[in-house]
Subunit: 703 residues, 2 copies
C-alpha cells in the first residue's frame, strides 16, 4: 500500500527574503522557514498554535572556506505530501504509517555560488529537517568545523538529560529544569571506561523535555550515516540549544562530499506523553530496508553466560598468571586457569540445558575467546582475534550440543574499541560464525578508541558501526552492538541491527545501581532511535546473594523486571539472571518464557517521563496481549481499560504484580501471581509499588 | 652453514657504575657502555681508535609514569659472538655473512623496580643497538613520549641530508656541514602532497656523513616493526643528534607492550666509502625469513603504463565530466572519456606486445581502476575499491592476452593514503589478483593519511605497511610500496617486500628534476634499508619531447640511466620510458634487456657520496658481470681493474658510455657503444661526463 502525491507550488524564485510554512497532516504541527536580512536561514515550530521552537538559526561552519551560514537566497520552495504504510521486519507494530507534508527549500549562497537545500518533513507528532548539498561545482569536498543548528526553547523546561560526552551514554538520567543543568553537571558524571564530557551545559540526544504548559518535546536525530553524532549544548541564558558534533582526532567535526546530506534533526512534540512513545517519526525518516532478503533476521530471546561475570562471581579471563598477553606468543594450554573462568564446557552446557528446557532461542557466551586477561584499558591494538577459543571452550562440541537441543549459541565480539583490529579480523570472525552455526553477535566497544584520538561518536566510528552491520548482513548475521553510538532508526534500513546498548543498562545494577526512575525515562530517550539490549529479568536483585563481595542491588522489584519486557521494547530480549535464580522463582519466570519479542500492535496506555510507563502489546503471531508497567521510586496505580481487546474474544489474564509490601530497597522479591478472565469491557486496577511494576499476559481462550 | 658461539662473561652484579666494552670481530670498531652517577646510560663508539660517537645518552620518556632515562643499575653484562652465513631470496649477493660480537646489558631501574636491556651488536662495519623490555611486573603497557637516544658527533661533519618530515622523504638531498643545516633547511623543502617538517635542524635517516679526517658515518635504523620511524634532530651547538620519533594523532610517539623491543639504531662507520655501500649490517640486524616457502618470490623486470601519465601526456582518470566521484553511485559507462586515459585496452596491448618482444616479465598498468577522477588531496575515505576496472580496461582479456605472450600484468593499488579503506578492500583486491594471475602489486600512499592526524611514518602506518606485506604473502603476492616509510631491512624477513619508493624517484625528473648528484647519494642513504623502485631508464630525458607542455628534463645522460640498473640495486627494475622512446635507441636498450635483477656477488669499485659510485655485479645465474657508474654534475673518470673476473675465463665487454661531448643539460643522449675482449688482467678506463655515467656488460665467452 503506497500512496504518494506530490504537490509542487510556490516557486518563489530569487528574492531577498523568503518565508514559507508547512503543516502536519492533522494541522497541529506547523513549521516556518525564513531568511534574516543577512541571508541566514532560521525556522520556527508550533504545536496547536503554541510556540515550540522559537526563531532558530541553521547552518554549518566549514574549514578553510566560506561558511554555509549566511548570504543565502531562496531559489525555490517545493511542497509535497507523502503517505505510505510499510512493514518492518520486526517491531512494535507490524504496519507503520509514514505520513508527512514536506517543505523543500532550495538555497543559493550568492558570493560563493553554492547551493544548499533544507528539507523539512512535518508529521503529526513532530518535525524532521536536514541539510542537503546537491552536486555542484563550488562545493564538492568540505569539512565541517561545527554544525550550527539551533533549537530555541520557549522557556525553562523540565528535562531528563544525561551529560554530553563524546564517548559514553552510560550515565544515570537527571531530571531538572534547563537552568539547573550547569549546576548539576558535575554530579551527573559517573566514571566510565571511556568518557569525554565536553561542556557544563552539554547534553545528549535523544533529549526529553516537558514545558510548564504540559507540552512534551523530544530532540534527537534520525539516519546518522557517515556523519558525527550530534549532541546539544545549552545556552542557559536564553534556553537555546546549539548542535554540537563529535570531533575527530584533529578536532574537525565531519568530512563530506557532495552530493550528500546531514542526518535528520528531529523535534517531536505532543501534549500527551504517550504520543512520544508511540511516535514512529525516527524510523520513518530512515530509508526503507536495504536488503532484499530479510528472512534470516529473527527476533531472539536469550540467556547468557554473562551475569555471573557482571556480578563479579566469575571471570571472562582464563588465567591470572601473566602480567599481559601477546596473542601471537601466548600458549594458553601451558597456563593455569584461574578457576573462575565461566565460559567453560561444563558451565556452558548447563546454560544450554536451561535454555532448551525453557524455550530460549540462544545462549550468549562471553569470555569464550582468548585475550581477556588484559583486554581492557590499555588501548591495545591486537587485543582479540575473535576466532580462537580458550582451551576449556570446545567451540565445535558446544555448538553441536546446543544445536542438538534446538538452541543456538550467541557470538560475542568485544573489540575493546580497537576497531582497526576488529575490521582486520571481522570477516574471518563472521565466517567462523557461519561455520559453526551462529547467527547473532553481541559486539562491544569498551574503552578508548583505537585509532587514538577518535571518539565513540565521531564520524570515523559511526562509519565503522554501520560497516560492521552491513558486512555482517553478507553473512546473514544479526548484530547487537554495545557501547556503539546511540541508534537513530537505522534498524529500518538495516534490520539485522537488532539491538544496541548505548545507554546505562542493567549491568549497572551490579555496579552501584541505576536510579529507580531509570526505565521510566529510557523509552522517552534512548529507545527513540531503536531497541536496547537492556538485559532485564534480574530476579535476585540483591547482588550479594550472587557474589558476597558485591554490595550493589537493582533499584527494582522482581515484578518490575517482568514489566520491562514490555516497556523496554526490543526484538532481542535477554533473561539476564543466573539459571539458579530463575529456578527459585519458576512461577514468575513463566512470564519471561511466555512473553513474545515481536508485535502486531502496541498501545501506550499510560506514560509520564520519570514517573511511569504502561504499554499493551499484541503478539505478532497470535491474539494474545501482554501488558507491562514500570514505575519510579514512588510507585504507580493504574486503571487500565482493556477496550483494545477483541470484543468477540475471551481471555485469561495472568497478573504478575508487586506484593502489597514490596519495595525495591527492602522487599524487592515480594510478588503475587493472579489469574482472571478478562475481555474488552474489563478495567484492571494494578499497583506498582515503590520502584516496582507489573506484567500481565492476556491469552485468548480458544473455543 | 651456521656457527654460533656464545661466551658468557663479566657477570658484574649490582654496582653503582658499570662499564663495559665490546669490539668488532676485526677489532676496528669498539663500543663502550656506561652509567653516569645518576644512573643514566650512555655509550661511545670508536673506529680504529678514532672517536666516532662521543658520550651519548640513551633512554625513553614515558607517559604518565617514570621515564626510562635514569636511576638504572647494571645487573648483568653478557658477551657473545655470532657468525652465520645466510642466503637471501634475492639480493646483491647470494650469501651474506652475519658476524658480530654482542654486548647485552641488563639494567634495573631501582625506584620503579623495572627492567630494561640494551643490546649492542658490533660488526666490522658498525654497531647496532636496541632497547629491550623483558616481561615483568611493573612494565607492561607503556606509551613513549619520546625516545631520547643521542648520537653525539665529534665535529662539524659534512652530511648528505633531507629535511626531517613525518610524511615524506621525497626531497632532494643537500650536501652541507652540520652547522649549515639550520640555514639551508627552508630552501631544502619542496612541495609534496603530504608533508610535515618538524624542526629546522631535523633530518631523516639513513643519514650519511663524512668527517674531516675521512671517516664515513651512517646513521639509520633496522627492523622497524610496530614502532614509529626515527628521525634525527640536531643540536647544532654541539653536533649531538637526538632521536625524534614520529607522533600519532594525539602526539604520542609509540605504544608498547612488554616483552618487546625497539628497532635497532645503527651506526655504520668506515674509512672507505665503499664499505658503507657493501655493508649488510641493516639486513643482518633483521630477523631471518619468516616464510617457509619463498619459491613464489621472484625478481622482476618490468615496463609500465606510467611515464606517459607522469610526463603529463596521458591521464590516470577516465573522464573529466564530474566534479567528484562517489564510487557507489557513479556509472562510468554513461560518462564520456577524456580521450587521455592511458590504461585502455588498445594502449595496454601495445605495452604487452613491447614487453613480450623485449623479454620483460611484467607490465605495470596504473589508472586501470575506477576512482581516479578525484583521488587526490581530499582525504577521501572510500576513494578506490581496487577491484573495479574502468569500462575501457578489460581485466580478463588483457591478462589473458599478456599471459599468452609470456608476460604478466603488474597490479597497482594507489590507496590515496586512505588506509582503512585499503584494509577493508585488501583481501578482495588480493583475491582478484590471484584470480587473474597477477603476482606483484605496486601500492601507493599519496596524500595525507586517513585516519586523520596519523602520519606516514607513525606507528599506526608502520604497522599497516607490514600488514599489507604479510597479508599479501598469504596470496603469494609481492609488494612494492610507494610513499610508505623508508625501509629498514625488513625485506630479509619478508622478502615479498621487493621494493619501496620512499625517496625522490625518477618521477621528479618530470616534475622539475632531481639534482645531478642525486643517484650518487641514494645508495648511501635510502638504499641502506632496502631496494628502491627508482624507475630508471629514461632515454628521452628532455620531457618536452614527450609532452610539449612539460619543460622539465632529467639531470642525467642516457648512458647514466643505464648505469643506474647497477648502482641502484633492486630486485625490481623498471624500464620507465615509453616504448617509442626505446625504439629510437634500440642499441642502448639492449643493455636494459640484458642486465639481470639478481646477483651472486657485488663489488663496489669506487664510491664517494655525492660524487660517484661504480659497482660490479655478477649475475646470479651465469658467469657474466655487469658494471654501472653514476656521477654527479662534474663527471668522473674511472680506472677499473677487472681482477674480480675469473682468471680462467675470457669475456666480451660491451661498454655503454657517454659520448665525449655528452652533458646532462645540453647533450644527454650522446652515447657510444663499444665492444672489447677483457679478462682478469684488464684495466678499463671509462669516463662519465657531467651528470653522466656508464654501463658495461661483461659476458663470458664460452668455449
Amino acid at each position: 500500500m503506497k500512496k504518494i502525491s506530490i504537490i509542487l507550488c510556490c516557486l518563489l524564485g530569487w528574492q531577498s527574503q523568503a518565508q514559507n510554512t508547512q503543516i502536519s497532516p492533522d494541522g497541529n504541527v506547523k513549521v516556518t522557514f525564513e531568511l534574516n536580512p543577512s541571508g541566514k536561514p532560521f525556522y520556527k515550530i508550533w504545536y496547536k498554535n503554541q510556540e515550540v521552537i522559537k526563531q532558530s538559526y541553521m547552518g554549518l561552519e566549514l574549514k578553510n572556506t566560506t561558511d554555509l551560514i549566511a548570504d543565502f537566497k531562496v531559489i525555490k520552495e517545493e511542497k509535497s505530501t507523502f503517505d505510505e504504510t510499510w512493514q518492518p521486519v520486526w517491531g512494535e507494530e507490524s504496519h507503520i504509517r509514514n505520513h508527512y507534508n514536506e517543505l523543500l527549500v532550495s538555497l543559493h549562497q550568492k558570493t560563493s555560488d553554492r547551493f544548499m537545500n533544507i528539507r523539512f518533513r512535518v508529521y503529526n507528532d513532530g518535525v524532521g529537517f536536514r541539510y542537503e548539498f546537491p552536486e555542484q561545482k563550488h562545493l564538492t569536498y568540505f569539512t565541517v568545523v561545527e554544525e550550527w543548528t539551533e533549537f530555541a526553547m520557549t522557556g525553562d523546561h523540565t528535562a531528563w538529560w544525561i551529560v554530553g560526552d563524546y564517548d559514553t551514554q552510560e550515565y544515570d538520567y537527571t531530571e531538572s529544569k534547563l537552568s539547573q543543568i550547569r549546576l548539576l553537571n558535575q554530579g551527573a558524571i559517573n566514571h566510565n571506561a571511556s568518557q569525554t564530557p565536553f561542556s557544563r551545559t552539554g547534553v545528549q540526544t535523544s533529549l526529553m523535555m516537558k514545558t510548564d504548559s504540559g507540552l512534551y518535546i523530544n530532540l534527537h536525530e534520525a539516519a546518522l550515516v557517515d556523519y558525527s553524532c550530534m549532541h546539544l549544548n545549552l545556552n542557559d541564558s536564553n534556553f537555546v540549544f546549539q548542535s554540537h558534533l563529535t570531533p575527530d582526532a584533529t578536532g574537525d567535526k565531519a568530512h563530506l562530499q557532495a552530493p550528500c546530506h546531514t542526518p535528520w534533526r528531529t523535534i517531536m512534540v505532543s501534549d500527551d506523553a504517550r504520543n512520544i512513545l508511540a511516535s514512529r517519526l525516527i524510523l520513518n525518516l530512515n530509508d526503507p530496508c536495504a536488503y532484499e532478503d530479510t528472512s534470516w533476521i529473527k527476533p531472539v530471546k536469550y540467556i547468557g553466560v554473562w551475569w555471573e561475570m557482571i556480578s563479579g562471581k566469575s571471570s571472562w579471563a582464563y588465567t591470572d598468571e601473566l602480567p599481559s598477553i601477546q596473542l601471537d606468543k601466548v600458549d594458553y594450554t601451558k597456563l593455569k586457569t584461574n578457576g573462575k573462568h565461566a565460559a567453560n564446557n561444563q558451565n556452558v552446557r548447563k546454560y544450554i540445558d536451561f535454555a532448551a528446557q525453557h524455550g530460549f532461542d540462544q545462549v550468549l557466551v562471553e569470555g569464550w575467546n582468548v585475550g581477556w586477561e588484559d583486554w581492557f584499558g590499555h588501548k591495545k591494538d591486537y587485543v582479540f582475534d575473535f576466532v580462537t577459543p580458550y582451551p576449556d571452550f570446545d567451540l565445535k562440541a558446544l555448538n553441536e550440543y546446543a544445536h542438538s537441543k534446538g538452541v543456538k549459541l550467541m557470538m560475542h565480539h568485544e573489540t575493546s574499541s580497537s576497531v582497526r583490529n576488529y575490521e582486520r579480523h571481522m570477516h574471518k570472525a563472521y565466517q567462523l560464525m557461519n561455520d559453526y552455526g551462529y547467527n547473532a553477535v553481541k559486539s562491544g566497544y569498551v574503552g578508548d578508541i583505537v585509532p587514538r584520538g577518535e571518539h565513540h561518536y565521531g564520524q570515523w566510528l559511526v562509519n565503522h558501526y554501520l560497516y560492521a552491520v552491513t558486512e555482517a548482513a553478507k553473512y546473514k548475521i544479526m548484530v547487537n552492538a554495545h557501547e556503539a553510538v546511540r541508534p537513530t532508526g537505522l534498524c529500518r534500513t538495516y534490520p539485522n541491527l537488532i539491538g544496541n546498548e548505548s545507554a546505562r543498562g542493567t549491568e549497572f545494577e551490579s555496579f552501584g545501581g541505576n536510579k529507580p526512575f531509570h526505565t521510566t525515562v529510557l523509552p522517552f530517550t534512548r529507545l527513540q532511535g531503536g531497541p536496547m539490549d537492556y538485559t532485564p529479568g534480574i530476579f535476585e536483585t540483591q547482588i550479594w546473594n550472587v557474589n558476597p563481595d558485591n554490595g550493589s542491588y537493582a533499584r527494582s522489584t522482581l515484578a518490575k523486571q517482568l514489566g520491562l519486557y514490555l516497556t523496554m521494547y526490543s526484538p532481542l530480549q535477554m533473561a539476564a539472571d543466573l539459571p539458579e535464580n530463575y529456578s527459585k522463582y519458576l512461577d514468575a519466570f513463566q512470564f519471561i518464557k511466555d512473553v513474545p519479542v515481536d508485535w502486531q500492535k502496541s498501545i501506550y496506555l499510560e506514560a509520564e517521563p520519570g514517573r511511569y510507563i504502561t504499554v499493551a502489546r499484541k503478539d505478532k503471531h497470535s491474539n494474545d496481549w501482554y501488558i507491562g508497567c514500570t514505575a519510579n521510586e514512588n510507585g504507580h496505580i493504574s486503571k487500565l481499560k482493556l477496550n483494545f481487546l477483541d470484543k468477540n474474544k475471551k481471555y485469561e489474564a495472568t497478573i504478575y504484580a508487586d506484593a502489597k509490601n514490596a519495595h525495591y530497597k527492602n522487599n524487592p522479591k515480594a510478588y503475587t501471581i493472579t489469574k482472571r478472565k478478562v475481555d474488552a469491557n474489563t478495567t484492571l486496577t494494578l499497583v506498582a509499588k515503590e520502584g516496582g511494576g507489573y506484567a500481565v499476559s492476556i491469552k485468548e481462550i480458544k473455543k
